[in-house]
C-alpha cells in the first residue's frame, strides 16, 4: 500500500490530476472516474480546486460553485436525489476545506428520508459534520432517525446510531436515551447493531448522564461480557467501564465476568480468536478494555477471582519475556499495549508487591529499549510506580538511566517524562543528586517545560532539605539560571523559609549579597536580595566588605533598572536599613528626598518615599525600632484552625474524654497478641504515650486529665461508633505503606495519602460519596493522641463527590494507640456513625540509618539490657519471599542493612524514631525459618515501650 511503511519518503505516486485508475473492489460499481458512486461532477470540482494556483483562485472557484449550488437549490425545478446528493457532497467538501457553509442543511435533511442508501448516507454525513447541537433542524433530523431505528434494517439502524453518536447533543439524548438501551438488550438485535448501540449509548451517557435511565437493562448489559461475539464484548466493555465508574455498586458483577473473559483471552493460542487476533496478539483491544474496567474496582475480594486475575497478570508479564512472534512493529505495539495496561492495573491495585517489583523490572528493560516510544512509555509508567511503597525502592535503582535519558534523549516529550520520573522517585536519599541534575538540565531545557522544572526543583529542595543552606543555594541558582520562569510563589517561599529559620538567615544574607555582585542579575534576585538584606543585612554588616553602606549602594545600583513593584520593595528595604543601620540614615534620607522619588509619577512609589522620609525624620528610635521590627515568623498554614481548636475546647468534652479512655483501656486489655512472647505492655507505658501529647507547645496544657480532645468541631456531645468491621486488617496494611484505601462500604470510601518527615507528618484524607445522594452534616472528627491539626470539611458531600481533609501531625513522644477517626453524617434520612483507626503508627516517624556491620553490633551490644529488647516468634501469614520482606522492612521505615548479619538469610535494619522531645535509636533483626514457616523478630531500642510497639507492628506484617 502506498500509505504503508511508516517513514517512506517517496511521494505519493499519482499527481494532482483526477485519478485515472480502475475502480477498486468496493468502489461504487456504476461510477466511472474517481468520485465514488459516480459523482463525476464532484470529482471534476475537486480536481479544479486542486489545480488552483493560488488561494485567491481557489476562493474564486469555490464562490462560483457556491453560487451555482445555491441557484440549483433555489431553482423552480425540483432536484432529483442524485443531484441533491452531489451538491450536498460538494458543500461538505467546501466546508472541510475550511470555508463556512450557511445553507444546504435542509437539502441534507431531505436526503435522510431517501430510501437510496448512498443518498441517506451522505445526508447523515453532512448532518454529523455540519449541524451543531442547537440547530432548528434537530426535530426533523430526529424524526428521520426515529424512522430508521424502527426500520429493522440493520444498515439503516447503523447509520442512525452513528449519527446520534456523532452529534451526541442533549436534544439527541432526550429523544433517544430511552430507546437505545432497548435496542441494545433486545434478543433479536443483530450483533453489529448491538455494537453501535452500546457505543452510541456511551456517547449519550457522557454528554447527559442524567438522561440515561438506569434500569433492568443494566444487568443485561453486564452479561454482554459473556457474549459469543467478540465485537459485541469489545463495544459493551467500553460502555460498562464508563457506567461502572459512576455506579460501581450496580456493576460490581462485571469484575468476575471481566476476569474470566480476560483469562480466556490471555491463555488462548494466537489463532483461537481468528479475526480478533491482531498480528499474533489475541484481541488486544478487548484485553486493554477489560483491564481498564478492572481499574474501576479494588482488587477482587473473592480469592478465586483474585487468584485468576493474578494468574492473568503473571501470564501477561511472562509473555513480555518471550521472543516476539513477528518482527512487525504492530505485533510488539499490540503486545506492549496490553502489557502497559496490565501494569497500570497492578499499580492501581497496589497490593501485590511481587507483581509490582516484576512490573518495575520490566519497565527497567524498556528504559534502554531502542524504540523511543517504549522508552517514553516506560518513563511515564514508572512515574506512577514510584509512588507505591512496594516499588519505590526498585524504581530508584534506575536513577542513572533516567538521568542519562535527560541528557541524551533527542525528543523533548521523552525528556519531560524523565523529569517527571526524577521528581517522582526523589526522596531524602537522592534529593541532592536529582536537584543538581534538574538544575543542570534547566540550563538547556526547552522553554515549554522550564516553568514546570523550576517548580519541581523548588518543591524538592524544600521537601528534602536537611540543610537549609542547600535550599537557599538551590533557589538562588534557580533564579540565576531561569529567573524568568521563577514565579512569585517560588520567591515568596524562599523568603518565608528564611524568616522562619534563624539558623539560615546569616547564610542567606551573605549569599544574596554575593549573588547581587554580578553585574547583571535577574530582577527576582533583586527582590529576594532586597527583602533578605532589609531583614537580616545586620548579620553580615560586621564584615567591612559588606558594610551597611556597601549593602545599600549595591542594592541602589540596581534600583533604576527595576520595575515599579521591585522599586517599591526596595524602598521598604531602605527604611528597614534606617532602623538597622542608623549610621547611613542621612544617605538614605537623601535618596528618598530626591525628586525622582518624592515626585515620582507612580503614586505607590511617591507615597512610599513621602511616608518613609517622614517616618525616618520624626519618629524616635524606639518607635522606629517597633515599626520596623524584624518580620515575625510566618504561621504555617493551619494556624488559624489551631486557634479555633483552642477556643472551642470547653466544658462538655470531659465526659466524652472519659468514655474514650474507658474504651481505649478496654481495647488495650484485650489486645494481648496471641503470638506475642512478651507480656502486654504496662498501662503506664501506654498512658505515657497518650499523656505526653500536649496540644501545642505554646498552649497551656488542658485542665482535664490526659490531653485527648474530643469532637473539637461540633459542640454536640456525640457517642462514638464502635470500630468498623475489617478496619483492623486495613490498618495493618498501612503500617508499611502510606497511601491507599483505608475504608470502604456501600456509601463511603475513605482514601489516604500521607507523608512523614522526622517527627512531622501530613495526611490527606479523601472522603468519597459513593452514592448519588448528598451526605448532610458530614462531620469527620479525629480523636487526638498525637498532636493533630485539621480543618473542618464542608458539611455536605454531593453524590459521587469527594472531599479532602488535611491533617498535620506531630509526634510529641512515643505512643501506642492510633488515633480514631469518627465520621458522622446523614444519608437519606438515616444517621450514619462509624469509626476507623487512622493508620498513624510509631514507625511512621522512622528515619533510616545506614551503618556498618561493626557499628551495628557494637550498638546492638550496648542495648543489651533485657528491658530494651523485645522478641517475638510467630508463624508466617504470607509466603516467605525475601524480596517482599525487604520491601516491607524498608516500607516500615528502617534502613535495610545488607551484609551485616553473618547469616545472609536474616534481615537487619536500623533507624531512628523522631519525636518532638527525643530521638530513639532502633535496631531490628528478623530471622526467617523457612522449614518451620516461622519468624523470630528481635527489636532493641533504648526505650522499652518503643521496642514493644515496633515489635507488635512489624510482627503483623509477615
Amino acid at each position: 500500500a502506498d500509505l504503508r511503511g511508516p517513514t517512506s519518503r517517496q511521494p505519493v505516486r499519482r499527481t494532482a490530476q483526477a485519478p485515472a485508475r480502475t475502480p477498486g473492489p468496493g468502489r461504487g460499481g456504476g461510477g466511472g472516474g474517481g468520485g465514488g458512486d459516480g459523482m463525476r461532477g464532484l470529482a471534476v470540482f475537486i480536481s479544479d480546486i486542486r489545480n488552483c494556483k493560488s488561494k485567491e483562485a481557489e476562493i474564486k472557484r469555490i464562490n462560483k460553485e457556491l453560487a451555482n449550488i445555491r441557484s440549483k437549490f433555489k431553482g423552480d425545478k425540483a432536484l432529483d436525489g442524485y443531484s441533491k446528493k452531489k451538491y450536498v457532497c460538494k458543500l461538505l467538501f467546501i466546508f472541510l476545506l475550511g470555508h463556512d457553509i450557511d445553507f444546504g442543511h435542509m437539502e441534507a435533511v431531505n436526503l435522510l428520508s431517501s430510501n437510496r442508501y448512498t443518498e441517506k448516507q451522505i445526508g447523515y454525513l453532512f448532518i454529523s459534520v455540519l449541524v451543531n447541537s442547537n440547530s432548528e433542524l434537530i426535530r426533523l433530523i430526529n424524526n428521520a432517525i426515529k424512522n430508521d431505528l424502527a426500520s429493522r434494517n440493520p444498515t439503516f439502524m447503523g447509520l442512525a446510531l452513528h449519527c446520534i453518536a456523532n452529534v451526541g447533543s442533549r436534544e439527541m439524548a432526550e429523544a433517544f436515551a430511552g430507546e437505545i438501551p432497548k435496542i441494545l438488550v433486545a434478543g433479536d438485535t443483530m450483533d453489529s447493531v448491538k455494537q453501535s448501540a452500546a457505543l452510541c449509548l456511551l456517547r449519550l451517557y457522557r454528554t447527559s448522564p442524567d438522561l440515561v435511565p438506569m434500569g433492568d437493562w443494566t444487568s443485561r448489559v453486564v452479561h454482554l461480557l459473556n457474549d459469543q461475539h467478540l465485537g459485541v464484548v469489545t463495544a459493551a466493555t467500553s460502555l460498562i467501564t464508563t457506567l461502572a465508574q459512576k455506579n460501581p455498586e450496580e456493576f460490581k458483577t462485571s469484575v468476575s465476568l471481566a476476569v474470566s473473559r480476560l483469562s480466556r483471552i490471555v491463555t488462548s493460542a494466537s489463532t483461537d480468536l481468528q479475526d480478533y487476533t491482531y498480528y499474533f496478539v489475541p484481541a488486544p483491544w478487548l484485553s486493554v478494555k477489560l483491564l481498564r474496567l478492572l481499574q474501576c474496582y479494588p482488587p477482587p475480594e473473592d480469592p478465586a477471582v483474585r487468584g485468576r486475575l493474578t494468574e492473568c497478570l503473571e501470564t501477561i508479564l511472562n509473555k513480555a519475556q518471550e521472543p516476539p512472534k513477528s518482527k512487525k512493529v504492530q505485533h510488539s505495539n499490540a503486545k506492549n499495549a496490553v502489557l502497559f495496561e496490565a501494569i497500570s492495573l497492578i499499580i492501581h491495585h497496589d497490593s501485590e508487591p511481587n507483581l509490582l517489583v516484576r512490573a518495575c523490572n520490566q519497565l527497567g528493560q524498556f528504559l534502554q529499549h531502542r524504540e523511543t516510544n517504549l522508552r517514553y512509555l516506560a518513563l511515564e509508567s514508572m512515574c506512577t510506580l514510584a509512588s507505591s511503597e512496594f516499588s519505590h525502592e526498585a524504581v530508584k535503582t534506575h536513577i542513572e538511566t533516567v538521568i542519562n535519558a535527560l541528557k541524551t534523549e533527542r525528543d523533548v516529550s521523552v525528556r519531560q517524562r524523565a523529569v517527571d520520573l526524577l521528581y517522582a522517585m526523589c526522596d531524602r536519599s537522592n534529593a541532592q543528586q536529582i536537584v543538581a541534575e534538574m538544575l543542570n538540565y534547566l540550563e538547556t531545557a526547552d522553554y515549554s517545560i522550564r516553568e514546570e522544572i523550576v517548580l519541581k526543583v523548588a518543591i524538592l529542595a524544600e521537601k528534602y532539605a536537611v540543610d537549609y543552606t542547600w535550599y537557599v543555594d538551590t533557589i538562588l541558582n534557580l533564579i540565576r539560571i531561569a529567573g524568568d520562569y521563577v514565579s512569585e510563589e517560588v520567591w515568596y517561599r524562599v523568603i518565608q523559609i528564611v524568616i522562619n529559620r534563624d539558623d539560615v538567615q546569616g547564610y542567606a544574607a551573605k549569599t544574596v549579597f554575593e549573588a547581587l555582585q554580578a553585574p547583571a542579575c535577574h530582577e527576582n534576585l533583586v527582590k529576594v536580595g532586597g527583602y533578605i538584606l532589609g531583614e537580616f543585612g545586620n548579620l553580615i554588616a560586621g564584615d567591612p566588605r559588606s558594610s551597611p553602606l556597601i549593602q545599600f549602594n549595591l542594592l541602589h545600583s540596581k534600583f533604576h533598572l527595576c520595575s515599579v513593584p521591585t522599586r517599591a520593595l526596595l524602598l521598604s528595604t531602605y527604611i528597614k536599613f534606617v532602623n538597622l543601620f542608623p549610621e547611613i540614615k542621612t544617605t538614605i534620607q537623601d535618596v528618598l528626598r530626591s525628586d525622582s522619588q518624592l515626585k515620582n509619577a507612580d503614586v505607590e512609589l511617591q507615597q512610599r518615599a513621602v511616608e518613609y522620609l517622614r517616618l525616618s525624620t520624626i519618629a524616635s528610635t524606639d518607635i522606629l525600632a517597633t515599626v520596623l521590627e524584624e518580620m515575625p515568623p510566618f504561621p504555617e498554614r493551619e494556624s488559624s484552625i489551631l486557634a479555633k481548636l483552642k477556643k472551642k475546647k470547653g466544658p462538655g468534652t470531659v465526659t466524652d474524654l472519659e468514655e474514650i479512655k474507658k474504651e481505649r483501656s478496654s481495647d488495650m486489655n484485650g489486645s494481648a497478641e496471641p503470638t506475642s512472647v512478651n507480656s502486654t505492655p504496662s498501662p503506664s507505658a501506654d498512658l505515657l504515650g497518650l499523656g505526653a501529647a500536649p496540644l501545642t507547645n505554646s498552649a497551656p496544657p488542658p485542665s482535664s486529665s490526659g490531653s485527648l480532645l474530643v469532637d473539637v468541631f461540633s459542640d454536640s456531645a456525640s457517642a462514638v461508633a464502635p470500630l468498623a468491621p475489617g478496619s483492623d486488617d486495613n490498618f495493618a496494611r498501612f503500617v508499611c505503606k502510606n497511601n491507599g484505601v483505608l475504608f470502604e462500604n456501600q456509601l463511603l470510601q475513605i482514601g489516604l495519602k500521607s507523608e512523614f518527615r522526622q517527627n512531622l507528618g501530613r495526611m490527606f484524607i479523601f472522603y468519597g460519596n459513593k452514592t448519588s445522594t448528598q451526605f448532610l452534616n458530614f462531620t469527620p472528627t479525629q480523636f487526638l493522641c498525637l498532636n493533630l491539626q485539621t480543618k473542618p470539611v464542608d458539611p455536605t458531600v454531593d453524590g459521587g463527590a469527594q472531599v479532602q481533609q488535611v491533617v498535620n501531625i506531630e509526634c510529641v513522644s512515643d505512643f501506642m494507640e492510633a488515633p480514631i477517626l469518627n465520621i458522622q453524617f446523614r444519608y437519606g434520612g438515616t444517621f450514619q456513625n462509624l469509626s476507623v483507626k487512622l493508620p498513624i503508627t510509631l514507625n511512621k516517624f522512622f528515619q533510616p540509618t545506614e551503618m556498618s556491620s561493626q557499628d551495628f553490633f557494637q550498638r546492638w551490644k550496648q542495648l543489651s539490657n533485657p528491658k530494651q529488647e523485645v522478641q517475638n516468634i510467630f508463624k508466617a501469614k504470607h509466603p516467605m519471599d525475601a524480596e517482599i520482606t525487604k520491601a516491607k522492612i524498608i516500607g516500615f521505615g528502617s534502613a535495610l542493612l545488607e551484609e551485616v548479619d553473618p547469616n545472609p538469610a536474616n534481615f537487619v535494619g536500623a533507624g531512628i524514631i523522631h519525636t518532638k522531645t527525643t530521638q530513639i535509636g532502633c535496631l531490628l533483626r528478623l530471622e526467617p525459618n523457612l522449614q518451620a514457616q516461622m519468624y523470630r523478630l528481635t527489636l532493641r531500642t533504648s526505650k522499652e515501650a518503643v521496642s514493644q510497639r515496633l515489635c507488635e507492628l512489624l510482627s503483623e506484617q509477615f
Binding site: 472541510l96 520593595l569 504555617e636
Partner: protein, 203 residues
C-alpha cells in the same frame, strides 16, 4: 502602624492598601501552593479509552480528514487544527510518536505523505492508539486496494464512512478487519442493488 504619619492631603483619596510585598502571602505559607501549581499532579486513572479527535493531514499541512468526538465550536476546531499541524510537522523523524498537548496527548504516525493524528486522554493507552491508526489504514487499504492520499481526497466521504464503521464516539467498535470491511462492502452492495432497481428503465 502608619497613623503617626501625616500624609499629604493629595493622597487622602487613595484607598487604603497594605504594603503587599512586606507581607508576602502571610495567609498561606506552605509548600502545597507550589505543589498545586505543578501541572502534572496525579490524575485519577480508569478513564475508559476515548479518542477526542482524529486528524489526517499531508506533509504540506493540508488537512485531509477531521473527525471530532467532542463537541466544539468551529472556530475552536480551526484553531486546534492549525496548532496541532504545526506542532507535529515541526517534530523530526527520530522522535517518539507522542506529544503532550494541553490536557491531552497526541499520538501520531506518518504513512507516506500523510500524517494520522489522534488526540487521546493523558492516561490512555498510547500504543494501542497507534494500532487504531494502523488498523484504519489497513481498512482503507482493503477498501481502496492500495490506498493513496488521492483516494482520500477524491473519496473523502468513503474515508469518513469507513472510520464510522470502525470507531463510534471515540471508542473502537469493531476490531475485526473482516467484519468492518464487510459492513462497508455490504452497504456498497446495498447501494448498487437499490440504485440498479431504481434506475431500471420504466418499461
Amino acid at each position: 502602624m502608619l497613623h503617626i504619619l501625616l500624609a499629604p492631603a493629595a493622597y487622602q483619596q487613595i484607598p487604603a492598601r497594605g504594603y503587599g510585598d512586606l507581607l508576602i502571602y502571610r495567609q498561606s505559607c506552605s509548600c502545597l501552593a507550589l505543589i498545586q501549581l505543578c501541572r502534572r499532579a496525579q490524575v485519577s486513572k480508569a478513564q475508559p479509552f476515548k479518542i477526542h479527535f482524529i486528524l489526517l493531514f499531508s506533509r504540506q499541512g493540508k488537512l485531509r480528514l477531521q473527525k471530532w468526538y467532542t463537541t466544539l465550536p468551529d472556530k475552536e476546531k480551526k484553531k486546534i487544527i492549525r496548532e496541532i499541524v504545526q506542532i507535529i510537522l515541526s517534530r523530526n523523524q527520530k522522535t517518539s510518536s507522542f506529544v503532550d498537548w494541553k490536557d491531552l496527548k497526541l499520538v501520531y504516525k506518518r504513512y507516506a505523505s500523510l500524517y494520522f493524528c489522534c488526540a487521546i486522554e493523558d492516561q490512555d493507552n498510547e500504543l494501542l492508539t497507534l494500532e487504531v491508526v494502523h488498523r484504519y489504514v489497513e481498512l482503507l487499504d482493503r477498501y481502496f486496494g492500495n490506498v493513496c492520499e488521492l483516494d482520500i481526497i477524491f473519496n473523502f466521504e468513503k474515508a469518513y464512512f469507513i472510520l464510522d464503521e470502525f470507531i463510534i464516539g471515540g471508542e473502537v467498535q469493531e476490531t475485526s478487519k473482516r467484519s468492518a470491511v464487510k459492513a462497508i462492502e455490504d452497504s456498497d452492495m446495498l447501494q448498487e442493488t437499490v440504485e440498479e432497481y431504481m434506475n431500471k428503465p420504466a418499461f
